[in-house]
């Protein structure tokens, strides 16, 4: 019985991911192109503002590459949350008329963003090669960044989608929370800009740690195990906690949505 349940759960995830990918790109031809255009356009804009006008010091790293490397991780997080925050509301009909584990809804929307992440990553590597950056064997560590990134994203999507389904105001509040998170995460500036006494903000923010170690890996070929292992543990813990909370209140969703 247990084995069958897990099998059905995975099958549900699969069909929901396929459904999301199909309906996302069926309607528009440009749809797929937007995956490429979005990070490039944001990187160009931010490059002008923070690279040319405000001139953030990134010590020898071209600012365009610097900001693009941060955006690969940040955009993946932000877009997944923006997509999955309404996942329960969009599927209200399904929730009130059929019985299935509701957590597959936000999780499938998050997982459907993995191809986008990989494409963004390839764009970044392409520009790195183009500007003469030497890429070496340490890049094989990149897949390990995806595990904590997607665990953390999935955890937040569970919390946000649930809260949003019950208090519709929360969707709007999420936009502001994401804005705050964007500025306290070293996306447009290096992590070293944060004063020592606020260091805890970086250490407690998995995205900040991931972006910082990602840049160390990309631009200095350094693998920062001392930050990397804690961030994996932290993401696992946050995910387990969020899933526990979601499962605890899952039964209330059909009555309250």
């Amino acid at each position: 019985m247990g084995g069958h349940k897990i099998e059905n759960y995975l099958q549900l995830l699969e069909v929901f991911i396929i459904r999301e990918l199909k309906s996302r790109y069926k309607a528009s031809i440009l749809g797929f192109l937007w995956i490429i255009l979005y990070p490039l356009i944001t990187a160009i804009i931010l490059n002008f503002i923070f690279g040319q006008f405000i001139r953030i010091n990134t010590s020898n790293i071209p600012y365009f590459l610097f900001v693009l490397s941060g955006l690969v991780i940040w955009n993946s997080f932000q877009q997944s949350i923006n997509l999955s925050k309404d996942s329960l509301i969009w599927n209200r009909e399904l929730i009130v008329k059929s019985s299935f584990p509701k957590d597959v809804l936000p999780l499938s929307y998050v997982l459907s963003k993995i191809p986008d992440f990989i494409i963004n990553l390839l764009i970044l590597l392409f520009f790195c090669l183009l500007s003469g950056l030497e890429l070496n064997i340490t890049l094989l560590f990149i897949p390990f960044f995806m595990i904590p990134l997607f665990l953390f994203t999935a955890a937040i999507s569970l919390l946000v989608s649930f809260t949003n389904a019950i208090f519709r105001d929360f969707g709007r509040i999420t936009e502001f929370l994401l804005m705050i998170l964007f500025y306290i995460t070293p996306v447009v500036y290096p992590a070293s800009f944060i004063p020592e006494k606020y260091r805890i903000i970086v250490l407690l923010n998995p995205l900040a740690v991931l972006i910082d170690s990602f840049r160390e890996l990309l631009f200095h070929n350094k693998v920062q195990f001392e930050f990397f292992l804690p961030v994996i543990l932290m993401s696992c813990f946050i995910f387990a906690f969020s899933l526990f909370l979601f499962k605890k209140f899952e039964n209330k969703i059909p009555d309250l949505i």
Binding site: V15, S98, F167, D169, I257
Partner: protein, 223 residues
């Protein structure tokens, strides 16, 4: 000795009349809790394997709520619910179909939600297409379907998902005469196979298939 299929013991279900949609309302609940409407109060029912039960009653008496409770879509506030075997609910035909996707793509999703394995879905798909009579439209997006086509597809999926307990809510209100006859024939086949069927309807229609009639009354008729 007859085996039980569905056991309901002292079920009570209360719905929120108002949902705490906004933070303001949510804060207010600290001072005045939400009023809840009792839809089902201390209700018990045993349905045996292979039985065909018809539940009738006026609007708002809790027919759909009862089916949703049995299907596990919602949870009761009090009482114990036990079901034996695969429960397939047809609360609203075609609920949750994705408009952009084709009939076949929706059928795969729907069957998965009903708990059918991937291999099985592949096997039953031709039967679903055949029974629904949608051969020429199965690769058309569902948004182009008529309401009758949607109900035919949904009903066909439910039939071939091999239910042990089939829960039907007002399903004969839609579909044309021919499909209705076909569906009733199918219910007869199920009955012979020993599938438990619980059907909800406004109408107190008499059928030889039906073993037991249950009439629910509205708890809030005076309002």
């Amino acid at each position: 000795m007859r085996e039980p299929a569905v056991l309901l013991k002292n079920i009570t279900k209360r719905y929120y009349l108002e949902k705490p949609r906004t933070f303001k309302k949510w804060f207010n609940t600290f001072f005045s809790p939400f009023s809840k409407l009792t839809v089902i109060d201390n209700f018990s029912l045993n349905v045996y394997e292979g039985e065909f039960v018809l539940i009738t009653g006026p609007n708002g008496c809790g027919k759909t709520t009862l089916l949703k409770l049995i299907a596990g879509i919602i949870k009761s506030d009090k009482g114990i619910i036990k079901t034996y075997g695969r429960v397939v609910p047809l609360i609203e035909l075609g609920a949750g179909f994705n408009n952009e996707l084709t009939g076949q793509e929706n059928a795969v999703i729907n069957a998965t939600i009903l708990g059918v394995e991937k291999k099985k879905i592949k096997k039953i798909m031709p039967k679903i297409i055949n029974f629904s009579g949608l051969k020429d439209f199965i690769d058309t997006p569902v948004k182009r379907y008529s309401s009758g086509m949607i109900s035919r597809l949904a009903f066909s999926i439910a039939i071939y998902s091999e239910p042990d307990i089939l829960l039907l809510d007002e399903i004969f209100a839609v579909g044309d005469e021919e499909f209705r006859k076909k569906s009733l024939n199918q219910l007869e086949v199920f009955k012979k196979k020993g599938v438990t069927i619980i059907l909800c309807s406004h109408y107190d229609f008499k059928m030889q298939l039906i073993d037991r009639f249950i009439k629910l009354s509205n708890l809030h008729a005076r309002r």
